[in-house]
């Protein structure tokens, strides 16, 4: 009964989405007020229906209702409750329901909070969102129905893949989807602006919170995924340039560029046409990511051809939205009035360069991701594009961007003042170069590149501190006064500085962890000792323990440093009973400056075990930095009471 309610709600949601996607748009075109006003109601009702559908599916999972094929295939009665719930989106059908739910919630936000929007604009934005929702609801209902029944119902389920039974991965998809789908709102605003032929300061102000929110969610989602990869996969890597990772990284790059170009549009009414294009591209890349991941085309072009129903459906959604929006762009963009003037060396100029490098980086990742597929289709030749490719082509594109961060933050709006910028950064440049030299000497590396990464981090962090210090006139006026100045700064200023500081932390983490990792792989028997990076580990042996739905072999390592007991690390190898698979659970001792990372492997010979020990310097800074960036994004969303958004 519950499942049928959910199914019905999903069908009604599709009808409402179709209504939301047609009449308001037609009404806005013909000046029909009543039709335009339908948008808000339709969005509210559609959100309610989608919530009911999602709740129904969640209930089926909680009750382990195995008469639903979806629950049977992805759940098990013994599974911990947390993973029963997160299992809802741990599969294709359920994750689509989550997708449409998030889309409906974003539309709800526009419908409820958008009372300051002109009626036409609101109708158009909600109309476009309705069309997108209709596409995905139809996709769900016609190719991936989560409410399909099994008769007779099986006794128990097949369980969720054990690798998904993990807190990091459980909450990774919702954040990623919040980011992907949030970009649909920006996209809808861009389409509305093209129809109306008007992009101005107000438009940028409407769009900014949605861009910022999407970016923040994407940042969090990607960071969660990479953190999970780091602790779950058992050799300390955290980013693999895998096509699936790239699928989420490309929208992030585009959203980052959009975030910066929207600032220029909002402040100076410049870069209008480019900002609109970016808004379209950012969402297109989200859709492309969905297509790549959902269609199976990544496994191989041929896997896609075997069961093309789903892939073709997404491809149709993709073509309709991207093609439609780009055609509209081609027709209407030339008529947008050119924006405010600015000198090449100015804050705007720096932001343009920021966009140039981010866009080139995004294009590079896109090429690297699609090239093997395209080449296979065109000529049948197979090539592999892996991490070494990206390290050669992507990293050099990011280095100038990172150098630019400091210059951009120091540059004034509108006018050229290169001398002023350079004189303010003189001291910092010196400090950074000295850092480079010291780090190079200290690490005794033949390559100066890792040390350069650390210097870059100092350069960015230093420029943040300089910028912030100048704003609040620290040490140039009484501290009380500085404090008051800090409190009066707009949220955007705190946001920018915090996010850029996070970037500096991230850069240091990436550099140090990739350049100065220590690895020891050996066989250890109970009582064996091993030194690594100033720690001594004593292997105390391994024993069997039972979990709720798995058995585990748990090793125990005593960690000591300078003769003192530091902690005990207990890595596990789990055997999940239902799916008959194993996972490794690394044990990690995290300090501010490094991770000690221990993995236990196969038993060999007489009571010995293969053991992998890693010392990963500054690796916590990678996620710390990402977290700071996301926090910056969140702070930017704070709207001062009474002030402009």
């Amino acid at each position: 009964m519950i499942a049928e309610t959910g199914h019905l709600a999903l069908i009604l949601a599709l009808c409402l989405a179709l209504l939301q996607g047609t009449l308001p748009l037609a009404g806005a075109a013909r000046g029909h007020e009543a039709w335009m006003k339908l948008a808000t109601g339709a969005a509210l009702a559609q959100a309610a229906m989608t919530m009911i559908a999602f709740a129904a599916l969640t209930l089926a999972y909680i009750h382990s209702d195995f008469s639903l094929r979806n629950v049977f295939e992805n759940s098990h009665s013994l599974k911990p409750m947390l993973y029963k719930v997160t299992g809802v989106w741990g599969n294709h059908e359920g994750s689509l329901v989550l997708w449409v739910l998030i889309l409906a919630l974003f539309a709800l936000a526009v419908a409820v909070r958008g009372d300051r929007l002109p009626l036409e604009t609101k109708a158009r934005v909600l109309g476009v969102l309705g069309l997108i929702a209709a596409g995905f609801l139809a996709f769900s209902l016609f190719t991936s129905n989560p409410f399909e029944r099994l008769d007779p119902p099986p006794v128990d389920g097949r369980d969720l893949n054990p690798i998904l039974q993990d807190p990091g991965l459980a909450f990774h998809p919702p954040f990623l989807y919040l980011g992907y789908v949030g970009l649909s709102v920006t996209f809808a605003f861009a389409v509305a602006a093209l129809i109306e032929g008007r992009v101005d300061r107000r438009w940028a102000q409407w769009v900014r919170p949605f861009t910022l929110a999407s970016w923040t969610f994407l940042t969090t989602g990607i960071a969660l995924g990479s953190w999970w990869a780091y602790y779950e996969l058992g050799w300390g890597g955290w980013w693999f340039w895998d096509p699936v990772e790239n699928a989420s990284f490309m929208p992030w790059l585009a959203a980052t560029a959009l975030l910066h170009s929207t600032i220029v549009t909002g402040k100076r009414e410049a870069l209008k046409s480019w900002t609109i294009l970016l808004a379209i591209l950012a969402f297109s890349l989200s859709l492309l990511g969905t297509f790549l991941v959902r269609s199976g085309v990544l496994t191989s072009v041929h896997a896609f051809a075997v069961d093309p129903a789903r892939g073709v459906f997404i491809l149709a959604i993709l073509t309709a939205s991207i093609g439609g929006a780009l055609a509209l762009y081609a027709m209407r963009a030339p008529s947008l009035r050119p924006g405010g003037f600015f000198a090449p060396v100015s804050r705007e100029g720096a932001l343009v360069l920021n966009n140039l490098f981010l866009a080139a980086g995004c294009f590079t990742v896109l090429t690297g991701t699609l090239y093997p597929l395209l080449l296979d289709v065109v000529s049948g030749a197979t090539v592999s594009v892996g991490p070494p490719y990206y390290e050669i082509v992507f990293v050099p594109l990011m280095v100038p961007l990172l150098i630019l961060v400091a210059l951009g933050m120091m540059a004034p709006w509108k006018r050229a003042d290169l001398a002023g910028v350079l004189s303010r950064l003189k001291l910092l440049a010196l400090v950074s170069v000295v850092t480079w030299g010291i780090a190079w000497w200290w690490t005794l590396q033949s390559s100066p590149l890792p040390a350069f990464g650390i210097a870059l981090s100092v350069w960015i962090a230093g420029s943040v501190i300089l910028e912030y210090g100048e704003r609040i006139r620290i040490f140039r006026c009484p501290l009380r006064q500085s404090w008051q100045r800090a409190r009066r700064l707009p949220a955007a200023s705190h946001a920018m500085n915090l996010a850029h500081f996070g970037l500096a932390v991230f850069v240091a983490g990436v550099t140090a962890s990739s350049a100065w990792q220590t690895e020891i792989i050996r066989t250890m028997a109970a009582g064996d000792r091993q030194d690594i990076a100033g720690y001594t580990l004593v292997f105390e042996g391994a024993q069997m323990v039972a979990g709720p739905n798995y058995d585990a072999e748990r090793g125990s390592f005593l960690v000591m440093a300078d003769g003192r007991h530091i902690t005990r690390l207990e890595p596990e190898r789990r055997s999940y009973l239902v799916q008959a698979t194993q996972t490794t659970e690394a044990a990690i001792h995290t300090t501010l400056f490094a991770d000690l990372y221990v993995v236990i492997g196969d038993a060999v010979g007489d009571g010995g075990h293969v053991v992998r020990l890693y010392h990963n310097p500054l690796v916590p800074w990678i996620w710390g930095g990402a977290l700071l960036m996301a926090a910056g994004g969140a702070i930017g969303l704070v709207r001062r009471r009474g002030g402009p958004p």
């Binding site: 741990g90 294709h92 059908e93 097949r158 893949n161 690798i163 991965l169 990774h172 998809p173 996969l233 058992g234 050799w235 693999f240 340039w241 895998d242 096509p243 699936v244 990772e245 699928a247 989420s248 410049a270 991941v293 990544l298 050119p338 003037f341 600015f342 000198a343 090449p344 100029g349 343009v352 140039l356 080139a360 294009f363 590079t364 090429t367 690297g368 090239y371 000529s379 197979t382 090539v383 592999s384 594009v385 892996g386 991490p387 070494p388 082509v393 992507f394 594109l397 050996r522 058995d551 072999e553 055997s575 999940y576 799916q579 008959a580 698979t581 194993q582 490794t584 492997g601 293969v610």
Partner: protein
């Protein structure tokens, strides 16, 4: 050992797909296994040679995995390639010769960094073209902007 049946597959392909919770059908076909990659018995006694083997291995693809280097994969084929690579290096091959030896038998597909050849020119040229093309667009837009903005410029 535990009661669970141990299946060896290459993990990163699955890991990566799972990252976005892909294709439940495929998940049922092959379950992921923990990644162990390099085993102690493979490691060369000479740390310098082993370091070279590591660096080279990271650029060679595990042929039965998705986008995973032989260093990171625990598939039997990846292990074989690691062992072969180390044998070549111990026999005194240069880095180039050792890789060439493997490419000769497995084709360019084994290289995670595709070689520059006729049909990869676009791949390698893309970043440069994107940057140069973008720079040109920016340049002309700025010039037009300056002309148009002369009136209200500073």
């Amino acid at each position: 050992m535990t009661g669970g049946q141990r299946r060896r597959t290459c993990g990163a392909g699955w890991r990566a797909m799972l990252r976005l919770l892909v294709l439940p059908g495929l998940l049922l076909l092959a379950a992921p296994a923990p990644l162990h990659a390099v085993e102690p018995d493979e490691i060369l006694a000479d740390p310098a040679l082993e370091a070279r083997a590591r660096d080279l291995g990271r650029e060679l693809r595990c042929l039965v995995c998705q986008n995973q280097s032989i260093e990171d994969s625990d598939a039997p084929l990846a292990r074989d390639l690691r062992v072969i690579l180390r044998q070549r290096i111990e026999a005194g091959d240069s880095d180039e010769a050792a890789v060439a030896w493997i490419v000769e038998r497995y084709g360019d597909y084994v290289l995670l960094k595709p070689p520059l050849r006729g049909d990869t020119v676009i791949l390698w040229g893309a970043p440069l073209v994107a940057l140069a093309g973008g720079a040109l667009v920016v340049f002309f837009a700025m010039r037009r902007n300056r002309r148009a903005g002369n009136g209200d410029g500073p």
